[in-house]
């Protein structure tokens, strides 16, 4: 792979760059995902050895990671698309909160059937994302600013519906929330299953569709993508629409998980989603990363929570501290990797 032309190089020609084995490994785009996966494994093993007698090794504890973090996984998958394209979406948490309010209100106060409420709320989320994408592309405004406006807008809209939280006692909702899918070694909730399906779909889209490759291309170099004749606008708008859709879906799962709507649900969850994406090895500058890494990012965050619960004596704020430390470490790794690539 080191030679590039068939004509023999003239003597004295500067040698072609031949990356050494270790340099190649360091430059491999899969490395961050592997690091995250290894970290998850190490944390899990550490948990096993420390809390073995408290049932940490129970397979249901592992499956609970998916049950308790399904909504975060869905939101993080949406965020992965956005970050991969070189953008950012700060409206995720607000859209989730708004969706819980909207669905709770529609089911509880308006009395619409759940089957109708689901498509409505998904459409609302997707439309919100579409609008933000449209503004970002057509007015060439920083995604940071546009989605920050979205963050305030949706949070404000929550309070338009109601200032109080709305508890849901609809039988359809609670039966759906309590449905468990048996897996032999344990069981998963509907939310966890949906999250895994979304993950698989996202993987397929990113790797096996032209749209997915365009997302990578735009994140890699937007100017180049334009000059290569790729439809920039359509792709960017679609990415934000998908993020809005995923946020709304995450909101539905969150509503199922908590069985209420509250104007203060999921405040700051966009930051959790972004943290999961970054810990999962996706470059914040875009163009490099894997949705599978996002899964490990979510699992690592979930595992930190579980371990702190098992520890029992630690305040839950340690979750934030651990997340902060990890995030810092992973951003430093990214930095080292990208500067290495440049030289």
């Amino acid at each position: 792979m080191s030679t590039t032309t068939k004509t023999p190089a003239a003597p004295g020609a500067p040698e072609r760059r031949t990356p050494s084995r270790s340099a190649r490994l360091l430059g491999d785009r899969r490395l961050p995902v592997l690091v995250t996966a290894a970290l998850f494994l190490a944390m899990y093993i550490a948990g096993l050895s420390r809390y073995q007698n408290y049932g940490f090794g129970d397979s249901q504890v592992f499956l609970n990671l998916f049950i308790d973090n399904g909504y975060l996984l869905v939101a993080a998958v949406g965020a992965t698309f956005v970050i991969m394209s070189g953008g950012i979406d700060l409206s995720v948490g607000s859209v989730i909160g708004f969706t819980t309010m909207l669905t709770a209100w529609l089911v509880q106060d308006v009395g619409l059937p759940l089957l109708l409420v689901i498509p409505i709320s998904l459409a609302v989320g997707a439309f919100g994302g579409f609008l933000m994408g449209y503004v970002i592309h057509n007015f060439e405004i920083q995604p940071f600013i546009v989605t920050l406006a979205g963050l305030f807008l949706f949070r404000g809209l929550c309070l338009v519906i109601s200032k109080e939280s709305i508890a849901i006692d609809d039988s359809e909702v609670s039966s759906l929330a309590q449905t468990r899918v048996p897996l032999g070694v344990g069981e998963l909730s509907i939310g966890a299953v949906v999250a895994l399906v979304v993950l698989a779909a996202a993987f397929y889209v990113l790797h096996y569709t032209r749209f997915g490759r365009r997302v990578y291309a735009i994140g890699g170099n937007e100017q180049s993508a334009l000059l290569m004749g790729l439809p920039l606008g359509g792709t960017k708008i679609a990415v934000y629409t998908m993020s809005g859709f995923c946020s709304a879906l995450a909101g539905l799962l969150f509503m199922l998980y908590i069985q209420s709507g509250d104007p203060l649900h999921a405040v700051g969850m966009e930051l959790d989603a972004i943290a999961a994406v970054v810990i999962g090895g996706t470059l914040l500058t875009g163009g490099s990363g894997y949705v599978l890494g996002t899964l490990f990012g979510v699992l690592v965050l979930g595992l930190i929570k579980s371990i702190i619960q098992f520890e029992g004596t630690l305040s839950s704020w340690w979750t934030k501290i651990a997340t902060g430390v990890l995030l810092c470490a992973f951003i430093l790794i990214q930095r080292v990797m990208t500067t290495r690539k440049k030289t």
């Binding site: 792979m1 590039t4 032309t5 020609a13 760059r17 990356p19 785009r29 490759r213 990578y216």
Partner: protein, 512 residues
């Protein structure tokens, strides 16, 4: 032989920018199976013509005919679909994707919406193979050097418009300055590919500042000057002197003048002295003594540490070892600010990313360093400012001579002059010029070299870095030779110093 039907005909092309008429009624034609050079000084309108052709700029007047049919090209995508592909000087591909993807993105083979990776890799490999290249298509593009990336860009453009991998889709291939950062072997490889494509009937439009390359590879050329057509010639009918005269619109006397120029002997006492200055991973410790009014040239291959040395002297990188003394006083060069304060100015080789602010006007760009040196709380009086700007626009012949023009719309050579003006206005004691003549045409090149000579005659010291040895040789009193990030020799210029002598020194790595 009857002239065949041109594949591309542009007639009466007009393009205007605010305050600038970049193209006024230019005609241009391109025949299948030829390599056609587009020649002209910087600012003559070459880039603009190409951008109009490839849909980056919209037309303000004129028509484009492709294969006898009038076409409207509104975007790069439309240009590609019409069969016009472009490879730019800065490779416009996605480094994060694999070679195969870069060749195929936007038209990947799919079945029921699913990308067929195997088929794509196979077709990419076949295409690469057919063009006589040996590139691993599964490797990420960023793992290859720029030269190979450029070849990949050409492969992509050849494959554009067809998905059966036979490369019949591209009718016109535009190569905009593809050779400016390639070494000789890489250029030869590029030329081999260009000839192969030409023989397959592709019309190639080639832009380069290297006249020798034009004469080596091109069949026909079109010369532009100041946005107008000067003429179309067969390359074999026009010699280099004639071509240069067409390009600059005047006889060559003023160029000759510089060849005969004698280095002035008026070199004063030591101005800046570096002792044991070095930086791990940058450049090995070196001693360098720059005297007042002296031009010190740095020679060496690309990546031999020329820029690194200059950056240390300017405080842009922190040295690990060594000292710098200016006028006998030891100074700490920990930031560019220290250097600027000590009277050192640095014109970076990356004028676009490290020097100019493209969205600001010529006036604002020129005044930037002076304002910084005065401090932001002491604005320069308007009248004085306008006078200074006007003086340097005139002295350096910046075109258009409009202080309100946006720098981003100027040509490369004129941007370089703006950058020079910015530093000259601060009246530095030492001017560091890193590749000031790269990517600019011969007329502007000569002007900049003449400027260096006159500055040094006025007592300014200059550290001059250039890839062309003749250039360094012509201007420098002392020539520092670099090799493998080490200053291996310092030669005093004289009749016995020739380019081959310097090359020998670079090759052997020692002072002979």
């Amino acid at each position: 032989m009857a002239e065949p039907q041109p594949v591309l005909e542009m007639t009466g092309i007009v393009k205007e920018f605010p305050g600038v008429r970049a193209l006024s009624g230019v005609d241009f034609r391109l025949f299948p199976g030829e390599i056609h050079a587009l020649m002209g000084e910087n600012g003559a309108g070459k880039s603009t013509l190409i951008k109009v052709l490839t849909g980056v700029y919209s037309l303000d007047g004129g028509t484009i005919t492709l294969d006898g049919k009038a076409v409207r090209i509104g975007s790069p995508l439309q240009a590609q679909q019409a069969g016009i592909s472009t490879v730019y000087q800065e490779v416009n591909l996605c480094p994060n994707l694999s070679v195969a993807e870069n060749i195929f993105i936007g038209r990947e083979p799919t079945r029921a919406g699913r990308i067929q990776w195997k088929r794509m890799r196979k077709e990419a490999a076949e295409l690469v193979d057919r063009l006589g290249l040996d590139i691993d298509v599964t490797a990420p593009l960023s793992s290859y050097p720029l030269a190979v990336q450029q070849l990949v860009a050409i492969v992509r453009s050849v494959g554009t418009g067809d998905s059966d991998g036979e490369g019949s889709g591209t009718k016109v291939l535009v190569l905009d300055e593809p050779t400016s950062s390639l070494d000789r072997d890489e250029v030869l490889e590029l030329f081999r590919l260009m000839r192969q494509l030409r023989d397959e009937g592709v019309a190639i439009l080639f832009v380069s500042h290297f006249l020798d390359q034009i004469y080596e590879i091109c069949d026909r050329m079109t010369v532009l000057r100041n946005g107008t057509l000067v003429g179309e010639h067969m390359v074999r009918d026009l010699d280099q002197v004639g071509l240069i005269e067409l390009m600059i619109g005047k006889a060559l006397d003023q160029l000759e003048e510089l060849h005969d120029h004698q280095l002035h002997a008026d070199v004063g006492e030591s101005l800046m002295k570096a002792e044991g200055l070095g930086r791990t991973g940058g450049i090995a410790p070196f001693d360098l003594d720059i005297k007042k009014g002296e031009v010190v040239g740095l020679a060496g291959l690309l990546g031999s540490g020329r820029t690194e040395l200059a950056r240390l002297l300017f405080g842009a990188d922190q040295p690990d070892s060594g000292t710098v003394t200016i006028g006998g006083k030891q100074v700490s060069m920990s930031a560019p600010n220290d250097a600027i304060g000590a009277g050192v100015a640095f014109c970076s080789e990356n004028r676009k990313t490290e020097g100019l602010v493209p969205d600001l006007t010529v006036r604002e760009n020129i005044i930037l360093a002076l304002q910084a040196a005065r401090g932001w709380t002491r604005p320069i009086p308007t009248a004085q400012r306008d006078e200074l700007v006007a003086k340097y626009i005139k002295a350096l012949d910046i075109r258009p001579a409009n202080p309100e023009a946006r720098v981003g719309q100027l040509s490369g050579g004129n941007q370089q002059k703006v950058l020079l003006a910015r530093w000259l206005i601060t009246q530095p004691k030492l001017l560091i010029l890193d590749e000031p003549t790269r990517g600019i045409d011969i007329g502007a090149k000569t002007e900049i070299q003449k400027l260096v000579v006159s500055l040094s005659e006025d007592g300014m010291s200059v550290l001059y870095i250039a890839a062309e040895l003749e250039e360094v040789l012509r201007l420098s009193h002392t020539i520092g030779v670099l090799r493998d990030r080490k200053l291996v020799a310092q030669l005093t210029n004289g009749p016995e110093i020739t380019p081959s002598k310097i090359l020998e020194t670079i090759a052997s790595g020692e002072h002979q």
